[in-house]
Each structure stands twice: as C-alpha cells, then as structure tokens.
C-alpha cells in the first residue's frame, strides 16, 4: 500500500468487484488499478472471467457488488455509452464495422451529429493517425481490408474519442504474426500518449514484449499480479494453469500412481501425424509442421496455453477442418482430409471441444444422442429399430452411469457431466475403435464427473485404444497421460514422458521457450 502513494492517480480502479450469472460466480472480489501510460495485460484461461471483467468496465454488465473509480470519482456505467462518455473505450473480439461503408464513414459513425464537415473530420483523423504512426486508406471500403487493417480501424475509432482507458479483448487472436507486431507497437504508442491500455491475451510472447504490468485471473479471482511480467513469465504461466486446491485430485491420484506397464509395442501406431500443417480461412498458420504418433494403449496429451493450435488439431482429426499440408494416418490408413463419416469408420472416436456445437444435439433425446453416429447399426431397410436403440441406450446409461430421468428426455436437460459421459459412451462404443481424440473432455465439469471421464478414458487405454487427450488442465494431464506433448503457436515444443514430467520444462515450453 505504501508504494501506491508514489504512483499517479489511477485512470480507473476497481475494488471488490463481484459478478454472478445465476448461481455461477464469474468474478469474485476483483480489485485492480489501471494507471495512465501503462499496458496492463489481463491473463487467464478461457472462462477465467477476463471478458466479463472487460464488460463490467465497459458497462455491458453491472457488478453485483464492489465499486469502481475513474480518476478518483465514482464510476457506475449502466450501458456502454456511459463508459464512452467517461473516456473508456473497448475494441471487441468481434468487430462492429459496416462492411459496405468506407473507413472514413465507419470512423465517423456515432461520433457526429447533424451536418458532417468531411474535410475537417478527415484532417482530425489524419492527425490522430499521424500521432500514432499509423496509415489507413480512409476511402477504402471495409470489405476490402484485411483483418489486421479492420482491427486498426476499430482501434482508431476508439482513439478518436480520446479515451483515458482503452480495452482490447484478445486483439491478437485473429492476426498474422506481422500484424501482431504492428498492433503491439500501436498499443505501446497509445500508452505513451498517456492512455491506460488493457490487453486481454493468453499469449506469453506478447506479454514479454510490451506489458508493463500483468494480472492473472483464474475462476474469476485475481491469483497473481506482476509488476515485471517480462521477468516472471514462468510464474504467470503457473498462476494461469495451476489449480491450487485441486493439485491432488483424490479421484485421479490412485490411478496415476500405478506404474504404467506398457502392454503394446511402440510400433503399434494408431495415429500418425506427418508434417501436419493447417492454415485457417484467413491464411493464418494454426498448425505448423506437426509430426507425432499415438500408440495403442497409451494416453498422449497435448498441453499448451489455449489458442496454440489445439482446437485446430481436434477439428482436423474430427474431419471438420481441411488440412493444408502433411498427412494423417489412423492405424496405417491415410485419413488426410477424410469426411467425418470416413473417420468414424476408420475407428476414431471424437469427443469434441465444443460439446454443444458439435458433440450433441440438445433438442434430440438421450437415446438418439447416444447412438448419433452409429445409426447404421440401428436401422434396417431404412427403418429405425426403436427397440434395439432403446436396449442399447439403456445398457450405455447403466454402464457409463449417466443420470437421467429416462432415456427419452431431451439431451439439453441433462447436466454437463452427464452430457459428457453420454458423448464418451457413444464414442467409446464405436465398433472398431482404435483411437479416441478427447478435446477438453472435463471442461465445465464438477470433480466427480471429471474423475468418471478419466476413468473411462483410462479403461479405454487399458483395452488397447490409443488416446489423444487435448487439454489445458495441466494437472489433470500430468496425472493421466503417458506422454505430454506441448504445443506453442501450432508447433511441437517438446515431449515429456510419464514419470519424468518436469513442470518447469513444460511451463517453459508452454511459454515458447526451448528448455
């Protein structure tokens, strides 16, 4: 507290902010100060509360308790307009630009009333641009711009309001490396002009480059604050991914402590990635020349800070994203660019990262969801065999301990844990299962459900199924995986073997440093 007197008055300070969505606490007692001239990085995994915090500051959500001060005065925004009036601007992850209008029109949108003096406005904008060392073609249509340029328009739009606080919500997620570099330069310059810049990110290289301070959120709480983030990358990573209360997950420890006897020769490869490269629709390289194998009867985990290519790997293996280069083999059979159906037929079970979007159909019944991708076994001459479906569903519900009022209830009414157990049940009972790809299989589940999920995954492994586990829960990964492969920016940084896991090395790989 003492050294705070040396600091200038915060541009914005938050004290004891709580925010609930229903019974879910998104923010818990968050206290945070933003000072003029600093680039403040806000870190945390998905769901840690970063976006909620930004939205509270920007007036989209109102806190349930706690107070905010702007330049020493109480600040209680009830809508984003209040925030803008108070000099707080935000660039959202999804742009809000009018595609068919020019850059100039977009910049003036909502900032001018009545008569527009285009000449004068243009001069004002050009001055701002010059001050930032930016260039923008004001007459170009938004639809003709690249993603990086569009983002620049969004930022300039905010800066024209001359804000004292600028919030950027994961601005680098969509950018190419060169554009990221340019964006960081702009952030620095905006901060130098006396603005407090809040940068939401989970990319550590960016923090290293420009953060003057950093705050780590986990489950809505501030778990670490750092005044020299560049020197404390390792601890920041640990604060982001470690769950102090859950290191010894009782349900996992006994299983993990049993030494893993290798029952299958290493040559029993069920998955082989050969120089796999994936570029997304915007041309950004998401997976960069990945080569790895998964053998029969082992769990290989993909670890890494989120957004480093794990989602894309899961999507490619599910047949939901095209491969740009390289090959994928399942049990010796090439499945590069195969359809979801072919992949299922090759014996790959998929537990997708986004359960609701890809893993299940919430409006259909539990039975139908349990059999979704093996309907060919439950129809004869095109007619569904309802009795056979019911019997199988009942068997799966019993075997996987899925709690539901009946097998005919809509899937959407089940709890998250039971939904995930049902998805697992479906994928693990594929006829010729050789490989299970489970992406974030425990996200959003309670401890009991987490244990159940891993018990089933381990059982599958013991049956000789190869498991590729994509997870950002490092503790879980270390407890169940036979090997851990760390991804950073779509590249494999290193591999750690069971029994020899070195948290420090893994942490370094996750931060993009070769150990």
């Amino acid at each position: 507290m003492a050294d705070q007197q040396d600091l200038p008055v915060p541009a914005l300070s938050l004290q004891g902010i709580d925010k609930f969505f229903g019974t879910f606490q998104a923010l818990a007692n968050v206290t945070l100060s933003l000072f003029p001239g600093e680039v403040h990085c806000l870190l945390g995994e998905n769901g840690a509360g970063k976006s909620t915090l930004c939205n509270v500051i920007f007036g989209v959500h109102q806190p349930d308790s706690g107070i905010m001060f702007r330049a020493g005065e109480a600040y209680k925004p009830s809508k984003p307009h209040d925030a803008l009036t108070a000099g707080i601007a935000m660039v959202h992850q999804h742009f809000s630009l009018v595609d068919n209008a020019s850059v100039l029109d977009n910049l003036l949108l909502g900032q001018s009333r009545g008569w527009i003096d285009y000449g004068q406005q243009q001069r004002r904008i050009e001055n701002t641009l010059q001050g930032l060392g930016l260039s923008l073609d004001l007459q170009a249509k938004i639809s003709a711009l690249s993603v990086g340029e569009r983002q620049r328009v969004e930022i300039v739009k905010c800066l024209l309001r001359d804000p004292s606080v600028l919030i950027l919500d994961e601005p680098t997620a969509v950018l190419l490396p060169a554009e990221i570099s340019a964006l960081l330069t702009v952030c620095k310059r905006v901060a130098d002009l006396g603005c407090a810049v809040v940068l939401v990110t989970h990319k550590l290289a960016e923090i290293q480059r420009i953060a003057s301070r950093a705050t780590v959120l986990q489950s809505g709480r501030v778990v670490m604050e750092s005044a020299q983030p560049a020197q404390e990358i390792d601890s920041l990573v640990r604060a982001m991914i470690e769950r102090p209360g859950q290191v010894n997950m009782p349900a996992l420890t006994p299983v993990a402590s049993i030494p893993q006897a290798r029952r299958y020769a290493l040559s029993d490869e069920v998955l082989q990635l050969n120089g796999l490269t994936v570029r997304d629709a915007l041309g950004v390289t998401r997976l960069d020349n990945c080569t790895m194998v998964v053998n029969r009867g082992e769990i290989v985990a993909i670890a890494g800070v989120e957004g480093n290519g794990q989602s894309e790997l899961g999507a490619v293996l599910a047949g939901m994203m095209p491969v740009s280069d390289g090959q994928v083999y399942v049990a010796g059979q090439e499945v590069t660019g195969a359809s979801p159906q072919q992949i299922t037929r090759a014996g790959v079970g998929i537990v997708p990262e986004d359960r609701h979007a890809v893993g299940c159909i919430t409006d259909m019944s539990l039975t139908e969801n349990l059999l979704l991708n093996h309907m060919n076994h439950y129809s004869r001459y095109g007619f569904l065999q309802r009795r056979k479906m019911r019997d199988q569903a009942q068997a799966l519900v019993a075997r996987f301990d899925i709690r539901a009022a009946s097998i005919d209830v809509p899937f959407g009414g089940l709890s998250g844990g039971n939904q995930q157990k049902a998805v697992l049940a479906r994928e693990l009972t594929l006829e010729s299962l050789v490989l299970l790809v489970a992406a974030q299989p425990t996200r959003g589940l309670d401890v009991g459900a987490v244990a159940a999920v891993y018990r089933h995954i381990q059982e599958a492994r013991d049956r000789g199924v190869g498991v590729l586990l994509i997870s950002s829960e490092l503790d879980e990964v270390l407890a169940v995986a036979d090997r851990v492969v760390v991804f950073y920016r779509g590249k494999i940084m290193g591999t750690s073997l069971c029994g020899q896991h070195d948290r420090r090395a893994i942490g370094a790989w996750m931060a993009g440093q070769a150990a």
Binding site: M320, S339, I350, A357, V358, I361, M364, F383
Partner: protein, 364 residues
C-alpha cells in the same frame, strides 16, 4: 378423437396438445366467421342467404362435398411436403411453382407423351409420376443452393415459383408448346382437354360424390410421409440436420444430400398436387392454373404444426371454405375474397396464439 375428449377432464384438455390445438383452431374459426358475418351484413346481403349459399357450395350436396374434398387434396399434398422439409428446418415456400411445374409436366405427358394408350392405368399414372419428378427437380434446386451456397431457401423457392408460373403462362400462350391449335380468333389460351384415359378414375363412380383416385393417393402418401418422418433413418437425419447441422455432419449425416432430398420430396408432392388438379378435375391447363393453391398449402403446412394429421384437418377446412366461398360469390354476389379474409384471420389468430403459448414456455 372423441374417445380422447371423453377420457380427459376439462383441466387436461388444456394440457393435451392435440386437443388444445383443436380448441385453438375451433376458436379461431369461430371468431373469423363472426367477422365474416359482420362483413356480409355490411355488403347488404341477408346473412341467412349468404350462409346458405356458403353451406350449399361447401357441403350442400354429395357433389359439393366431393368437390370440397378434391380441392383439399392439393392443400394436403403441399402441406405434407412442407411438414417434411420443415423437419430439417427448411421452409418450402415454392408450392405454387411446384404445382405449376407438375401441371405442365402432366399436361405434356397426357397430351403428347404417348401415355393415352398405356394399359393398367399407366395412362394416368405415368403423367403423375412425371409431374412428381418435375416438381422434385424444381424443389431440389433450392435444396442444393442452400446446402452448397447457403442461399436462403425461402427466397429461392419463392423466386423459382414465379419462374414456374410464367413458364406455365408461356406454355399455354404458345401453340408450339401446350396451347391448343388455333382454329379461330376465339381460341382460348389453354391446352387441349387431356384424353379420358389419362384422367383420374372416380373412387365411387355411382355415388355422385365425384371424389377421384387422388384422395386415396394423398391419404397413402400422408401415412407414408408420417412413417418416414418418425420411423426411418432418413427422418432421423432430417431432424438432426434441422436441429444442429454441425453435430449432424460430425455424426456422419450427409448434409447436402439430406437438404436436397427434403426439398425435392416437398417439390415432388407439390408437382403431384398439380397433376392431381389437372387429371382429377380441370382436365386442361390454363393460365392461372395453380390459383394460389400452393400458398394455401403452405399455410396448411404451417397451421398443422408438424403433424400430418393436422395437415389433413387444415386441408379439409381450407377445401370446404374455398368451395363455399365460390358458391357464395355465384349465388349471393359476395366476393369470394371474403373467404380469403376469413382464412387470413384464422391464420393470424393461430399464429398469434402459438406465439403467446410459446412465450409461456409451452407449445400449441
């Protein structure tokens, strides 16, 4: 249905969805009829005279009943197709054009396709099949556009309808196409009457009802489609694609094929409806052949709220109202458009009550 009414207490009536649908439908019709009576009075026509004309036309004689039922067949066929496509969350607005295309195909086959002398009823079956095929192609196009390019099927089916309607107009205007040979200046722009062998046979020729084979075909197709929807793997795929295309794709459902098939079947039913209209009662193709039946069929499908039984009920309602309205115009000089007003009121009340009930977290 009567059994159900007796078995349930009044409180249960309101919670049983079938009965509630019927109650809402009945209530809506009654309100609409009251409005119609007010309008009849304002025309200066005695209400009793108008209603008598309406009743005469709708169900006053065996012939009237038969005509009303025949009329409702097209509504039912388009409605059945609508319900099927709607399972995949596809909205087929193109019934009107699919009827027109079916009518063109059936006329062409009946007159010039050499069907006249085919044995075993093939003389009338082949034109119907061709009409269904043509309507199916007309429906498949929007399905393909939707699956591949994301084109909204509401717009593409509607636009294709306009193309089909003008195509029909062209067919009956040009002697090189389907117009009857010009023997005098007074030759009407319509096709020749189709040969008797290609006309649909009556189900009960001696009854005076005039109900033709189309009724049997429609009933059978209704049962078949109901079974397809609820009991087949294709019906399962339709629902999966409708609810969550991403998850359906992951589960191995061929999205493109399912969408194309759904709209093609809806189109085929519309095309068949056109053939039944032509071969069942009109016997010659004229401009304005489809006369809004496709759009009425769409409304029938909407009102039925995904139930094939509902389609039949609504189709009959519309069939009788249309017949009664036409007679009212001829006998009591009240514009037949009054029936359209009544229909519109029914639709608005039903749609409104559906919205109201869904706001309460329920479904009609």
């Amino acid at each position: 249905m009567n059994n159900l009414l007796i078995k349930l207490t009044p409180a249960q009536w309101c919670t049983n969805s079938h009965i509630r649908t019927l109650l809402v439908m009945g209530g809506a019709t009654m309100i609409a009829v009251l409005v119609a009576i007010v309008m009849i009075i304002s025309f200066g026509v005695p209400v009793s005279e108008a209603l008598e004309a309406f009743a005469d036309g709708a169900w006053g004689s065996p012939y009237a009943i038969g005509a009303s039922i025949n009329r409702s067949l097209v509504f039912a066929l388009v409605g059945i197709g609508f319900v099927l496509a709607n399972r995949a969350r596809l909205t087929n607005v193109g019934g009107e054009g699919q009827i027109a295309i079916g009518g063109i195909a059936a006329t062409a086959m009946s007159l010039y396709g050499g069907c006249e002398n085919l044995p075993y009823g093939l003389a009338y079956i082949v034109p119907m099949l061709c009409a269904a095929l043509a309507g199916g192609v007309w429906g498949a196009i929007p399905g393909w556009l939707k699956a591949r390019l994301g084109t909204n099927e509401v717009i593409s089916t509607l636009l294709l309808s306009f193309i089909a309607i003008w195509l029909l107009y062209w067919c009956v205007q040009s002697v090189d196409l389907l117009r009857q040979p010009m023997t005098s200046g007074g030759t009407l722009p319509e096709s020749l009457t189709i040969p008797e062998t290609t006309q649909l046979p009556l189900l009960w020729p001696d009854s005076g009802l005039g109900i033709h084979l189309g009724l049997a075909i429609t009933l059978v197709l209704g049962v078949v489609v109901a079974a397809v929807i609820s009991r087949t793997r294709f019906g399962f795929s339709l629902r999966a694609v409708g609810y969550n295309p991403q998850a359906a794709k992951r589960a191995g459902v061929a999205i493109t094929w399912t969408m194309v098939a759904a709209l093609a079947i809806a189109g085929a039913l519309g095309g068949l409806g056109g053939a039944i209209m032509l071969q069942g009662d009109q016997y010659s193709l004229k401009a304005g052949f489809s006369s809004g039946y496709g759009f009425d069929g769409l409304v029938v499908g909407l009102l039925a709220r995904n139930s094939i039984t509902g389609v039949f009920v609504a189709a009959l309602l519309f069939g009788f109202m249309r017949s009664g309205g036409i007679n009212m115009e001829m006998v009591a000089q009240i514009p037949a458009a009054l029936v359209l007003v009544v229909q519109a009121i029914v639709i608005l009340i039903l749609a409104g009550s559906a919205l109201w009930l869904s706001r309460k977290g329920e479904k009609v």
